[in-house]
């Protein structure tokens, strides 16, 4: 691609990359956008950690039922084939490796796939973790969606996380507005770039980038 891509286009790309028939958990924020681009043909089943598989779109009007919410506490709907289960079962689904893909946001990802997305480390912040650490460790593939650079130009893909980590060696793929990165045993590979080149990115990043195979 020749242009940088926006949040919706990036969500569309993630959606397209999810294999048909997958069981998927979408984190709060940018990852939620992915659900807008999943097609019926893909037959994706969405999991929400507060106890449901087969989650449908956000509830509208009369559909709103306060007993039926997602992990962000937003009222949602159920699709045919949906099921409910208690919290320990729901996290067993996650921790037990039954989910194919989890898509999360991040403050930072390290070159070895450590994820930082739960705490800025600010001394006066009230810590809150929710299901972030469980999501990071559970799914077969953990995809991150984030902007590649902070507002002041610092890369969020770093040699080592400086924020407190959520999980170690857990991220397998990073979707950003500049490029898609794969965390491999050889190192960080650039799958594709958007409106930039691997050389231009390398000039702004400490992490050694490898070309696509």
């Amino acid at each position: 691609m020749s242009e940088k891509i926006g949040r919706d286009e990036l969500a569309q790309l993630v959606a397209k990359d999810i294999k048909p028939g997958s069981f998927v958990n979408l984190g709060i924020g940018q990852p939620t956008l992915v659900s807008n681009y999943l097609t019926p043909e893909q037959d994706i089943t969405l999991h929400t950690e507060n106890g449901m598989l087969g989650m449908g779109p956000v509830a509208q009007g009369d559909e709103i039922d306060e007993d039926l919410i997602n992990a962000g506490k937003i009222p949602v709907t159920e699709l045919p084939g949906a099921s409910y289960f208690h919290h320990a079962d729901s996290f067993a689904i996650m921790r037990g490796g039954h989910l194919d893909v989890c898509v999360l946001g991040a403050f930072q990802v390290s070159a070895t796939g450590d994820l930082a997305n739960w705490h800025t480390g600010a001394p006066d912040a009230i810590p809150a973790v929710g299901g972030a650490m469980d999501l990071a460790t559970g799914a077969k593939d953990v995809y991150v969606m984030m902007s590649l650079f902070t507002k002041d130009g610092q890369s969020k893909l770093v040699p080592e996380c400086t924020y407190p980590v959520t999980g170690v060696n857990c991220v397998t793929r990073i979707y950003t507005n500049e490029a898609v990165f794969l965390i491999t045993k050889d190192g960080v590979r650039v799958r594709e770039t958007f409106g930039t080149t691997i050389e231009e990115l390398q000039a702004k990043m400490e992490v050694k980038l490898l070309p696509a195979e």
Binding site: I126, V129, G167
Partner: protein, 232 residues
């Protein structure tokens, strides 16, 4: 034998000062609002409360915290846009917080009910929340040792009970209910309906009555007192 209480106040009357109380609910879904209100009225203090959150807006658990009846909270996600009573108490140093990843919280509660002395989990390994905890490498992967959370009481909300205490829930309001019912010495459940024994299909019972001590019928449980903001 199942105790069928006539009022929420009667149902929670035995909750004593210093008790550890599991409170069901994820946000407002499944939160036993009337039982919490009754707990507020009954005056028990120095409580250790276990819940996913630390109260929302000006209702339920948030009010218990506002009245400084909770000395310690064990939860996964205390910070929300409308958790002002917790925020104030925490910043004033008037409530102790034990932060637990949500799946570890659920499994620690489950372990207590199942008689498990603890377990190794990959969740949290290598993070701040595992500091000081025993770790072990199993088949090349790092795990953290977590302990069960036992409690004196569980306050939970279900849809229906029969007169032996068998419970069914409704949609995602089930959340922590079944594991909390099993983990507490005394489980107190508010339901929308109590039916005769035999009227619940045994195949659909989610919590068997052996885990339930007291039920109380709250015909029209309160809906969310405040509009929920995006939070986790």
């Amino acid at each position: 034998m199942l105790n069928i209480a006539q009022t929420a106040q009667e149902a929670v009357a035995g909750v004593h000062d210093g008790a550890t109380v599991l409170i069901g609910g994820f946000g407002n879904a499944g939160q036993p609002m009337e039982l919490i209100d009754a707990l507020l009225e009954c005056g028990a203090k120095d409580l250790t409360v276990v819940n996913n959150n630390a109260g929302q807006a000006d209702a339920g658990l948030a009010l218990l915290i506002k009245e400084r009846r909770v000395k310690k909270i064990i939860c996964s996600f205390p910070r929300q846009s409308d958790s002002w009573h917790f925020d104030t108490a925490y910043r004033a140093g008037e409530i102790e917080l034990e932060l637990v990843p949500q799946g570890n919280l659920a499994e620690r509660i489950r372990a207590a009910g199942a008689g498990i002395g603890g377990f190794f989990t990959p969740t949290g390994y290598g993070t701040m929340l595992a500091e000081g905890k025993e770790t072990r490498e199993i088949d090349g992967r790092g795990y953290v040792y977590e302990t069960p959370i036992h409690a004196d009481f569980a306050l939970i909300k279900a849809l229906k009970s029969d007169k032996t205490g068998n419970l069914v829930y409704r949609k995602t309001a089930r959340n922590f209910g079944p594991i909390m019912a099993a983990a507490a010495k005394k489980s107190i459940v508010q339901v929308s309906e109590i039916v005769e024994t035999g009227q619940l299909d045994p195949e659909v019972v989610v919590t068997p009555g052996i885990y339930v001590d007291t039920v109380v019928k709250i015909a029209a449980p309160a809906t969310a007192a405040a509009e929920q903001k995006v939070s986790k």
